[in-house]
């Protein structure tokens, strides 16, 4: 039973991260209105809508809280002054209320932005673009706050004593990296099909590749900073986070990630000719997505299985099951509308040229 919940939490966090990454990138796109965001906007919109599904799937976690979180195990709380200190914060109703609030905020903002894109496409009224910008800029603040608290609630609190101010920021960067890799993967995978073939060109893939590079660097910078600070100070409340994740067979994972998640994509994305070809970019994006899964696995599972490295059968099964639901919902959402947005004249120009 506990295996099942462990696998479930790991899978859920990965897929929620992907949904939230799509949501965050959509906000970013509507705020700065970069041209690069238009060809992948539909993916981001459909990805944001999967938050509805993820909110429902998350309810299962409530059944297994004591299997996962130390604060949900009364005997452990009774012995631990720090958990007692947080007991008020981690009452079940308050935890549930925060969960409801996060999803309500995310879904409401996604729904409004998507509605305004649709209305603009229908009516051609460019005031909706301004409306989206006006909502997105403050919505980024709402996103930052909710993701910080959500990552604290769902992931950070797996370790009874650990806390890190970097964690929320690191989660936002990881989500952006995951979603960017996912969107690039889809776009480059379908690059030869209409209508994508009409907008995908070397200038676009170079921009997207550079953004992927920037997020890869950001992820590495934040991860390394957090590690270096905690490793150097070596404080008893904080260092166990890394000790648990670096011993008993787990230690090869961070080393592998250093190369897999950082050095390989970093060096490849520096080369201009790699970014010019859709096939190359697709492989790099796919590679990054695989390492995102490994990273989430490494963050969540070692603390739950302290006896050493292990992958249980439930891990891939549950991961793929939730993934199948996610993909089903995503492609169903994607099919509802035209594959490329039609509201922005800049993309229309590209289509007309082709």
């Amino acid at each position: 039973m506990s295996n099942l919940f462990q696998s479930y939490l790991f899978s859920l966090i990965f897929w929620v991260s992907l949904s939230l990454g799509c949501f965050g990138l959509m906000l970013l796109h509507h705020t700065i209105r970069g041209k690069w965001g238009l060809p992948i906007l539909r993916f981001l919109e459909a990805g944001s809508m999967t938050l509805v599904l993820m909110g429902v799937l998350f309810l299962v976690v409530f059944a297994g809280l004591p299997y996962l979180y130390p604060w949900a195990r009364p005997d452990e709380v009774a012995k631990d002054p720090i958990l007692q200190h947080r007991a008020g914060y981690y009452q079940l109703w308050f935890f549930a209320a925060r969960f409801a609030l996060y999803f309500a905020v995310w879904i409401l903002i996604s729904w409004l932005l998507i509605k305004w894109t649709r209305l603009q496409e229908k009516t051609g009224d460019s005031r909706y673009a301004q409306k989206r910008t006006n909502l997105s800029a403050p919505a980024i603040i709402a996103y930052a706050v909710t993701v910080t608290f959500a990552s604290t609630d769902w992931v950070m609190s797996l370790d009874a004593h650990w806390s890190s101010t970097m964690f929320g920021f690191l989660y936002m960067a990881s989500q952006a990296l995951t979603a960017m890799a996912f969107a690039i993967f889809l776009l480059t995978w379908r690059a030869s099909q209409k209508p994508y073939s009409e907008v995908v060109n070397p200038a676009l893939t170079r921009d997207l590749g550079n953004i992927l590079l920037a997020f890869t660097l950001l992820w590495a910078y934040l991860s390394f900073s957090q590690y270096l600070i905690i490793w150097s100070a070596n404080l008893p409340e904080l260092i166990p986070y890394y000790i648990k994740r670096n011993k008993g067979g787990w230690n090869w994972l961070p080393t592998a990630m250093l190369f897999g998640q950082f050095f390989v994509p970093f060096l490849l994305l520096l080369i201009p000719s790699v970014k010019a070809k859709t096939r190359n970019l697709m492989m790099i994006a796919g590679w990054i997505l695989v390492w995102r899964i490994v990273d989430i696995f490494w963050q969540i599972i070692p603390v739950l299985r302290p006896d050493g490295f292990s992958i249980r059968a439930t891990d891939p099964i549950v991961f793929l099951a939730i993934g199948a639901l996610w993909m089903g919902f995503f492609f169903w959402q994607l099919k509802q509308r035209s594959p490329l947005p039609t509201h922005d004249p800049r993309l229309q120009e590209a289509l007309d040229h082709a």
Binding site: F224, Y227, L228, W231, S232, N234
Partner: protein, 192 residues
């Protein structure tokens, strides 16, 4: 240029002058220079160069100049910097003077990262800046092209195309006639 002048030059061309560096045509617009350069390259001239107050997009391609050595030197500088940084710290801390500091391992890779990183960037920047200057042959206070009339405007608002005398296709008369066909504002010889 009047026909009379051309006539005079034709007379001169009988005795080729060894001290000729090349011939320049002066233009008012960046785009005129770009078209002229493209045309000249297509006409078969190879030892040509364009002078402008700012970089013109597409000009290196127009004169058939392609080179990636600045990037290579920068990359090598970076590699050298990384090796220097890592080598320095490992040698001093692990090999030459091992010392226990706060119980940290001798080989404290996380601690060695920042200085290694800084030296990588420092050496790569040296590579970029000094590599660029060296490949350009700068500093070089005197160059024959400065003898071209009105060349002080090349850093201000005029654009010059130079066909060097070393070009196998260079001919005092032909080249001048050719340059004049490009409709420049002036064509002149440049002495060494």
């Amino acid at each position: 240029m009047s026909t009379q002048e051309i006539h005079v030059h034709e007379a001169e061309s009988a005795q080729p002058r060894a001290n000729l560096y090349g011939m320049v045509a002066e233009f008012d617009h960046a785009d005129d220079l770009l078209h002229a350069a493209q045309q000249t390259y297509a006409a078969g001239y190879r030892k040509i160069d364009a002078y402008s107050p700012f970089p013109i997009h597409g000009m290196p391609e127009a004169i058939g100049f392609k080179e990636g050595r600045v990037g290579l030197i920068t990359f090598l500088g970076g590699v050298l910097g990384a090796l220097t940084g890592a080598g320095l710290q490992i040698y001093t801390t692990v090999i030459d003077y091992p010392m226990n500091v706060g119980g940290r391992p001798l080989m404290s890779i996380p601690s060695f990262f920042p200085a290694t990183y800084e030296l990588t960037i420092l050496f790569a920047s040296f590579g970029a800046a000094f590599g660029m200057l060296a490949l350009n042959g700068l500093p070089r206070p005197h160059h024959p092209i400065f003898n071209a009339p009105n060349f002080d405007k090349a850093s201000q608002n005029k654009f010059f195309l130079c066909i060097e005398a070393a070009d196998p296709k260079f001919d005092r008369v032909e080249t001048r006639r050719y340059l004049e066909g490009l409709h420049p504002t002036a064509v002149s010889d440049v002495e060494k």
